[in-house]
Amino acid sequence: MSSLEPPVQAAEPAPEPIAGVARAPRRSSSSSSGRVLRLMEANALLVLLVLTAIFFSVWSKTGDTFLSSANLQILFSNQAVTAIIALGALIPLVCNEFDLSVGAIAGLAAVLVASALSGGLPVPIAILYGVGIGTAAGVVNCLLVTRAGVNGVIATLGMATILDGVVTQKTGGQAVVADIPKAFTDFGTGNTFGIPRVAYAMVAVALLVYYLLAHTPLGRQIYALGSNRAAAALVGMRTRLVLGVTFIAAGALSGAAGVLYVARAGGADPNVGAGFTLPALAAAFLSAASVKPGRYNVGGALVAIFFLAVLNNGLNLAGAQPYVSNYVNGIALILGVGLAAYLHRRRSGTSSAAM
């Protein structure tokens, strides 16, 4: 035993300087190449968006039409409704809750607002009505999740199904198009300074959500809740209240998106609501892949929305069949979720086993 001790002691100091020498250069190299990597990571989707746009601008099949102002205006105005719904879905997603009812809420608000407008309801009140409907649905989601303890996916899936039923019952499957005030549809279809007015609405909502998430104590608490629910409770947060607010906010924004849809389309199609959910959720998930990697964020959601839109629009112009957009959205959703999970794991330093 004693004969073993000296070599052990002699060997012990040796690894330390080696580790010290090896560590110093590795750290410095990782910080410079790491910065490039981080920048790439933060902007990969944005670069991809630009590259896709350039590709469709020069590709002979789409080059003529893609860059035309008419096409770009259509592109922006078509995405405004989806973007606002995506921003709605983003808020609960930050605290790891999926709201699958956002599309259905928008659809219900659209149908009810359209029929109220054709019944002569003044436009400002109709807007409040639409947002109110969304908020009410959000409150029900909030109560189901925070009070009744229903799993968020199940609660909102059930809510979506019920709301679809309400829409079909109300409309009998017929679109509501009659007597929508012209001033209202003008807002939905017109341009100001060459930019669709609905795009301004989208930017306004995006700024609002960005401010909420990035610059208010509530936003900080929403991120904390998503990071570690037990720890959030132990630093004195009202976790159920914060969680509930995210569902209510998602509902309100979806309601607003429904109103915007009526202005844009000049009516409401009873079948349109459900179709919004998937692209909106895909964008919300993909938001964690850019701008602030590993974190669901507003900038990332907008980049994701327009990446998907440009891709679909370009393929559309190239004469691709409509089903191709299903492929694109589906793949984007899976990639988005996978990428977000990967970046989150990297950021929080946990292994895949921790999932």
């Binding site: 208010t216 104590p217 900080r220 608490q221 037990a230 720890a231």
Partner: protein
């Protein structure tokens, strides 16, 4: 196969040695366990008891020694978990190896595989039938189709034991090792389990029973082996097992003297120093009473399951029933929930940092500001610049070493993460700081720094309660220590008696009053 010789030892350990670095955990421990007996294995912190079990289970390789099972000699250096099992050694740890949501029958089947029929279908009737037989054999009063969590914790432990032993054809084969099986059992359930163990032993089962609880040893053990400083000090026969004798052996001669001194000191209440900051009575079921003064760090010692963690959680409003009669600076304080406790001036650093305190993917600045968001809020807007400046100030004041305040918490070492958590709470200038295993998994340097930071906080007039299973830490960091048992404060060690041997004495010596 020859009939087992009743007289032959079921398990014999010879000259087991194991060193961790420069620490000699086991120095040639030898012991012999007779067939069909309950053999208790005892020892204080650092006695080598846990290492011995790990060697036996093949979790850590021994440096030297032999393990003899049923007459077959194995090299202790080559022991592996698979070999231990093949040789008939079965280990049942605390309640972490069962599945509360599954039925009793399913839990039993998970140990050996499900019987399946055509198409891989589980043959439930067969499963049920066999489970019923096993339950009957082990005299467990439970329905095979009941959910495991519904049958009481002693029965759950017995199901775990039955699962380990169900394939053993003959009760005389093999050795069952139980590691602190009663640590998490409520008191009234302990008797149920001990009764069952006695029956199994009478049927010929050999049981090695590892425990801290002397009253249990006295109740069921046929023999008791005591380890101290990595060696076996004695093996007692049934007639020799008394509380005094066990305490004496666990602590050594010097320690036994200290027990008497510690007893005498129990009534010595905290010294004259600071003003009373925290007073609490009605803690736990039996009304523990606690008085903490300004400027002191009070250690909390106690074995696993003694209620030391629930003591802290209760004070922070996390207990099943909020404690009544909590006074802070003489004023009655409401600690009904976390928010109320925080408002009353209490801070709580939980035991499990990853699960209960760290926001791993958020930045250091965000981790720090979460406990004081209103400080950084102007007209509903968070002042990010001020938040980061605040974080930088806290990081330098609390010796947090990190690239920047915007780095995610997960990029820090355990010690630096813990300093961030500590800073998160201390920036609120709490009156009472509750710390549960605050330096677990933290390197030596950071540990000393954390102790220094705690000291700095109490020097400003706060008071701190520090739970640690490491007695060395309690001695290094605390002014005095209380000993907790079954949720009650059972002893109070003043500064001049705060030594590791005294703590061992107080924690184990208390057994005599049980």
């Amino acid at each position: 196969m020859a009939a087992p010789d009743e007289a032959m030892a079921a398990l014999r350990l010879h000259g087991i040695a194991k060193a961790y670095g420069n620490t000699q955990a086991l120095r040639g421990a030898s012991l012999e366990v007779s067939r069909g007996t309950i053999h208790a294995l005892l020892g204080g912190n650092g006695s080598g008891k846990s290492t011995l079990i790990k060697v036996l289970a093949g979790v850590v390789p021994a440096d030297a020694g032999e393990i003899e099972l049923g007459g077959v000699v194995h090299d202790a250096r080559a022991q592996t978990a698979v070999r231990a099992r093949a040789a008939g050694l079965q280990f049942v740890h605390q309640q972490d190896s069962t599945f509360p949501e599954l039925t009793v029958a399913e839990n039993l089947a998970l140990g050996r595989g499900f019987e399946t029929g055509v198409g891989g279908r589980v043959r439930w009737s067969k499963l049920h039938e066999r489970a019923a037989k096993v339950l009957e054999r082990f005299e467990i009063d439970a329905d095979p189709d009941a959910e495991l969590r519904s049958i009481g914790s002693a029965n759950q432990m017995m199901v775990a034991i039955a699962r380990a032993l169900q394939d053993q054809e003959d009760a005389h084969d093999g050795v069952l090792v139980l590691d602190e099986p009663t640590a998490r059992l409520p008191r009234h359930e302990v008797a149920l389990l001990l009764g069952a163990l006695g029956r199994y032993a009478r049927a010929g089962q050999t049981i090695v029973y590892v425990t801290h609880r002397l009253d249990e040893v006295i109740r069921v053990a046929d023999e008791a082996t005591v380890l101290r400083d990595g060696a076996v000090v004695a093996t007692l026969g049934r007639a020799e097992i008394t509380r005094e004798r066990l305490v004496e052996l666990i602590l050594g001669d010097a320690g036994a003297a200290i027990v008497r001194a510690a007893d005498a000191s129990e009534r010595v209440v905290a010294a004259e120093q600071g003003a009373l900051v925290l007073e609490a009575d009605g803690l736990g079921g039996d009304g523990a009473c606690l008085e903490l003064r300004a400027g002191e760090v009070v250690g909390v010692a106690g074995v696993l399951g003694s209620g030391r963690t629930s003591l802290l959680r209760g004070l922070f409003g996390m207990g099943e029933e909020p404690p009544s009669g909590v006074r802070i600076d003489g004023e009655p304080a409401d600690v009904g929930d976390c928010r109320a406790a925080m408002a009353a001036g209490i801070a709580y650093v939980p035991e499990d940092r990853t699960a209960d305190a760290a926001f791993a993917d958020l930045s250091i600045a965000e981790n720090l500001s979460l406990s004081t968001l209103p400080t950084y809020t102007r007209f509903g807007r968070m002042d990010g610049r001020e938040e980061k400046a605040g974080a930088r100030a806290l990081m330098s004041s609390f010796l947090v070493r990190a690239e920047s305040e915007e780095a995610p918490l997960s990029s820090l070492s355990g010690g630096n993460q813990q300093k961030v958590i500590l800073a998160r709470w201390l920036q609120r200038r709490p009156r009472v700081l509750l710390l549960d295993e605050a330096t677990q998994g933290v390197d030596v340097g950071a540990r000393a720094e954390i102790h220094g930071l705690i000291r700095r906080a109490v020097d400003d007039g706060a008071t701190a309660l520090l739970v640690s299973s490491d007695f060395e830490e309690l001695v290094a960091a605390c002014d005095r220590a209380i000993v907790v048992r079954d949720g009650r404060v059972v002893a109070d060690l003043p500064r001049d008696q705060l030594r590791e041997d005294m703590l061992n004495a107080a924690v184990y010596g208390q057994e005599r009053h049980a």
